[in-house]
């Protein structure tokens, strides 16, 4: 095999490998969503309980992805969970919008749903969403259910 055809074959191999990397980055990972997402602005929301919310969870409004959770931490003064959101520029919400922590499916991942309010002014970068609804914690629900059951049972017994 002469030198030229060796070089052509090696070139082919390298191009093929780089194409594979490009495929992994664009089609099988999230590089495309970074470049397509463009500019974002940050908002904050405080929750009594964030449940299983993790950073990089999606932010949705009416079910459409409009951003991402960038960080989750505890405010040591108020003991509230502070969630920082990155929302795509061009998607603006009224000042009195509310944020809920919702679950995709019965046991799916948790995400933040934003319901727009009716205020004329919009939330700007750095604002805090004040109206929030915490995550539903299954244990609390079950506990409440059992407690109600027990209370009902207690009332019925004397009859």
């Amino acid at each position: 095999m002469n030198k030229k055809s060796t070089e052509i074959l090696v070139g082919l191999f390298v191009v093929l490998g780089l194409l594979a990397l490009l495929f992994l980055a664009l089609k099988a990972a999230n590089l495309a969503s970074f470049t397509g997402g463009g500019d974002t602005y940050t908002l904050q929301a405080r929750f009594d309980n964030i449940g299983g919310l993790k950073s990089r969870a999606p932010v949705r409004s009416a079910g459409v992805n409009v951003g991402r959770v960038t960080s989750v931490k505890l405010d040591p003064q108020t003991y509230l969970g502070v969630v920082t959101l990155e929302v795509n520029k061009g998607v603006n919400f009224p000042k009195d919008s509310s944020a809920k922590i919702l679950t995709a499916g019965l046991l799916g991942d948790q995400y933040i749903g934003i319901e727009p309010g009716g205020d004329e002014k919009n939330l700007v970068a750095g604002d805090v969403i004040t109206q929030t609804q915490s995550a539903v914690v299954l244990e609390n629900l079950i506990g409440q259910f059992l407690f109600n059951k027990a209370a009902d049972g207690g009332e019925q017994k004397p009859q």
Binding site: K3, T6, E7, L9, V10, L12, F13, V14, L16, G17, L18, A20, L21, F23, L24, A25, K27, A28, A29, N30, L31, A32, S33, F34, K54, R56, P58
Partner: protein
């Protein structure tokens, strides 16, 4: 007294062997920049190491993708989560199986041929002849092969993962009937370019260094007899595979221990 002496002997011999290997590795690193100046040699080695491993890598990637998709589907339907098939196959391939299986195949396919080639060069006293002509055999023979291995390995691992994911696509979408848009979008949501794909590439580059350095060392230090070359070739596969697996554990712990 005799037992103590034996213990000391064994420990000293082992330390000497490790030191010998480490010094060889440092020499190899020192010789590597000179290979960049004669890149034609490196291209030849990429052809020998990379191109000729292509068929086995692609075939293995495809079958791993097929089998992983089928098995995962079986487990996931129990939980009604068959949709996340693509994500699981993707993460498994990109983070672990791509780099590791490629490195194991690489040690068997390319590592052995490197060891045998250099071992026979040594048995034929070509290496001694080079030294006699004041040509540094580490710069002329070993360094181009070393660079060729390091450059080929990440590309081979990326091809392995890609072909595996395409194989999973064939099984998941064409055979099982999972929605194609869902198959890709769930991967794009769950796989991070730098954290998952990037770390996979770093892993495969490290494995490339391990496999190639071990193969070259075994070839260069072989006894110049037919049995010596055979023994060195076997040791290449064993040492490189164990090194890759041990290193994989360390790298995984460093890269992915924090969520």
């Amino acid at each position: 007294m005799n037992a103590l002496q034996i213990i000391g002997q064994v420990v000293l011999a082992q330390l000497a062997r490790w030191g010998h290997g480490a010094l060889f590795f440092l020499d190899l690193l020192r010789a590597t920049p000179s290979a960049l100046r004669r890149f034609g040699l490196v291209v030849g080695q990429i052809h020998a190491i990379g191109n000729r491993s292509l068929v086995i890598i692609v075939a293995s990637g495809l079958s791993v993708g097929f089998v992983l998709a089928l098995q995962m589907y079986y487990a996931l339907t129990t939980y009604g989560a068959a949709e996340s098939l693509g994500l699981i196959v993707n993460l498994a391939l990109v983070r672990e199986l791509g780099p590791v299986v490629t490195a194991l195949l690489f040690a068997g396919r390319a590592g052995t041929s490197l060891t045998a080639e250099i071992g026979l060069m040594k048995a034929g006293e070509q290496i001694a002849a080079m030294e006699l002509m004041a040509i540094d055999p580490k710069a002329r023979v070993l360094a181009p092969r070393f660079l060729g291995g390091i450059l080929s390995m990440p590309l081979l691992a990326a091809l392995f993962s890609t072909v595996g994911i395409l194989g999973a696509y064939v099984v998941a979408v064409l055979l099982i009937g999972i929605d194609s848009g869902n198959f890709w979008s769930i991967q794009q949501n769950g796989v991070d370019v730098w954290r998952d794909v990037g770390n996979g590439v770093v892993k495969s580059a490290v494995f490339g260094v391990i496999c190639t350095a071990v193969a070259l060392y075994q070839g260069f230090e072989t006894e110049a007899t037919p049995e010596g070359v055979a023994y060195a070739t076997t040791r290449t596969v064993v040492t490189a595979s164990l090194g890759v697996l041990a290193m994989d554990f360390i790298l995984t712990a460093l890269m992915f221990s924090t969520p």
